[in-house]
């Protein structure tokens, strides 16, 4: 590390502090707002924490923040199932297809790769109508499988694994073959453990992607008890004939960022490792 002095040492700190404020301020507001009653929030904004923190959270978790929506606990659960399903599904499918493309010679292998690669150009938003049609025809509307399955094919993840596999030396495969490992054993004993950090990084990215999905769940779910937390927040803000209960909305928002936050905190080390220290 280069030793930094004077200005060059102060400036990074200023930038970091500014970033921290920028990100931290809205969260602070949400936390403070979620500790007051709805009446306290009308007309002015309190600068300090109120005394209704626990009440508010208990209320939204169990009863929901509007008179008709599902309880937040249900929505959190739906989001969790969807985000886990998407991230795990993506990892499983893309590591398997990348393995096939890199380590096996089969007819039309090049074409298969390019087909997968081309789907990069077709994100969910572009193919949303035909995909909806397919899901509807398969009677998967308002179900977890409808939320998850259409989104788990990932060209990006396949590409990432493919690039990673290319960095593994050929001799690794050859040594394993001489030791007697067939294709499946090589996958389980060598490729999978060596991909650990890549998998962790992908999991973080895809979990957050899945958690934050809005358009797709909005389209495939109509039943209230299937809605996800991101949809829930949106519904709360635009209730008709009612002042939005900002204390409950903020409590819901705070709850909504917790799971991605936990994922990042717990996977952070693996995540960073995947960039700086590929284990080879």
């Amino acid at each position: 590390m280069v030793e930094r002095r004077g200005l060059s040492r102060v400036i990074p700190h200023i930038v970091l502090l500014a970033g921290l404020l920028l990100v931290g301020f809205p969260i602070a507001i949400a936390l403070i707002a979620s500790s007051h009653t709805a009446a306290d929030l009308v007309g002015h904004f309190p600068a300090t924490f109120g005394s209704h923190l626990i009440d508010n959270y208990r209320h939204v978790l169990l009863a929901g923040s509007t008179n008709k929506g599902a309880p937040v606990a249900t929505m959190l659960w739906n989001s969790l199932v969807m985000a886990l399903g998407i991230s795990i599904g993506k990892i499983v499918i893309s590591i398997a297809s990348a393995y096939a493309i890199v380590y096996f010679r089969f007819p039309l292998r090049g074409l298969c790769f390019w087909l997968i690669f081309v789907t990069l150009m077709l994100p969910v938003q572009v193919r949303i109508l035909p995909t909806y049609q397919v899901v509807a025809d398969l009677h998967m509307l308002d179900s977890y499988s409808g939320l998850i399955v259409p989104l788990i094919a990932s060209a990006t993840a396949t590409f990432l694994f493919r690039q990673f596999f290319f960095t593994l030396p050929d001799e690794l495969l050859e040594a394993a073959r001489i030791d007697g490992a067939g294709p499946l054993r090589f996958f389980w004993d060598m490729v999978l453990p060596l991909s650990r950090t890549t998998i962790a990084a992908l999991f973080v990215v895809e979990f957050i992607y899945g958690w934050n999905l809005y358009l797709w769940p909005l389209i495939v779910t109509t039943r209230e008890n299937m809605s996800t937390i991101v949809m829930g927040i949106q519904h709360m803000v635009v209730v008709a004939d009612q002042t939005p209960s900002w204390n409950w909305i903020m409590a819901t928002a705070v709850l909504a960022i917790l799971p991605p936050l936990l994922v990042v905190i717990f996977m952070q080390r693996q995540f960073v490792k995947s960039f700086v220290e590929p284990e080879k």
Binding site: L172, E174, R177, I178, D179, G180, A181, P193
Partner: protein, 364 residues
């Protein structure tokens, strides 16, 4: 029965022929060295034997069994790679145990075999729980050899195993490998670039060039009686001196380009007027007061035990190995002669083959 047999083995990548019909038999327990310039197909030959490359044509048999269509694991071989190819996420112990576990060997026997290998290789048992990346290059090489030993295969394959090590460690590991072979007596094929390894390690030497075998024989025989001009130039460091010449009318002398006259070795008839390449090893030249070669000194390398004299004249450069320290200075004139009774090597300019066979046998 030969332990390994190559019969008319060919390899082509698409339309690029890499090996053009290799015939070779390796005896059981033999230590065979394969040398040749970069790209001549040494690794390809080894990898075909290991089952890592397909055989385009011909047959390879191990212990009398044709292995062309067998998977590497069915061939009863073990291979040591240049870059070790250890499994980076496994401990040293598991690196060695992996192949045995796949063969469903009982745990106790795996342990016994690894303990034995650790002892043979003089590995520190505390190292067994470490990861490969926590080991030095020499230690990794030992572990790679350990992984081969525990399998107790019928053939060991080495592809330039020492070329990533520093000079001192290489000497040490070379001796180790030789000792290992004497101890275990397993048939070994060893590919190398290194002259010293080629001369000292094996019982027989295979010199390859451009996808062909040029010569097979004990190292000293290959050195003393190179079958082709290529072998003569490739084996030996510094390389043999070559001069163009013509056999004179009497058939007893060769006249070199510069007009020098050298007596021909006895024991063969030479066709008068034939164009030949004359080869003389640096250690067979000596500085004399009056001799056929008159040159200017370019530089002298004092190696301690002897010194290498680089000199040149209009016909080209020559290298001569002189005993002890040499006090010759660059620019000085020097006269060289072939030592009494020292061999000179004659190769047909056209076919590049050796002209006189002497007592040595030459291959094909």
């Amino acid at each position: 029965m030969a332990a390994i047999e190559f019969e008319k083995v060919k390899k082509a990548y698409g339309s690029d022929a890499v090996l053009h019909g290799i015939d070779l038999a390796v005896d059981k327990g033999e230590f065979l060295i394969v040398v040749g310039p970069s790209g001549c197909g040494k690794s390809t030959l080894l990898r075909m034997l290991a089952g890592l490359e397909e055989i385009s044509d011909g047959t390879i048999s191990i212990g009398g069994r044709v292995v062309n269509k067998l998977e590497p694991r069915e061939r009863d071989i073990a291979m040591v790679f240049q870059n070790y190819a250890l499994y980076p996420h496994m401990s040293v112990y598991n690196n060695m145990a992996y192949g045995l576990k796949i063969r469903r060997m009982p745990k106790a026997e795996i342990k016994a075999r690894i303990d034995k290998a650790v002892e043979i290789l003089q590995l520190d048992p505390a190292m067994l729980q470490r990861r490969p990346r926590q080991l030095s290059g020499g230690q990794r090489q030992r572990v790679a050899m350990g992984r081969a030993i525990v399998r107790e295969p019928s053939v060991f394959l080495f592809d330039e195993p020492l070329s990533n090590l520093d000079a001192k460690l290489r000497v040490q590991m070379r001796i180790e490998i030789k000792r290992l072979h004497q101890l275990l007596g397993i048939t070994t094929l060893y590919v190398t670039h290194d002259q010293v390894e080629a001369m000292t390690l094996g019982e027989r030497l295979v010199v390859m060039n451009g996808g062909h075998i040029e010569q097979v024989g004990p190292p000293s025989e290959v050195y003393d009686w190179p079958a082709t001009r290529f072998v003569a130039g490739f084996i030996g460091s510094p390389a043999m001196n070559f001069m163009a010449g013509t056999i004179d009318d009497s058939g007893e002398y060769v006249i070199l380009e510069g007009g020098e006259r050298l007596a021909l070795p006895a024991g063969a008839a030479y066709a008068a007027g034939r164009a030949v390449d004359v080869g003389i090893r640096p250690e067979h030249l000596t500085a004399v007061a009056d001799g056929p070669f008159s040159l200017s000194v370019e530089l002298v390398e004092n190696l301690g035990a002897d010194s290498l004299l680089h000199a040149y004249n209009e016909q080209g450069a020559m290298i001569c190995r002189l005993p002890g320290h040499s006090s010759l200075l660059p620019g000085q004139r020097v006269t060289l002669d072939v030592m009494r009774d020292a061999p000179i090597h004659l190769f047909d300019s056209e076919t590049q083959r050796r002209l006189h066979s002497g007592s040595g046998r030459s291959n094909g």
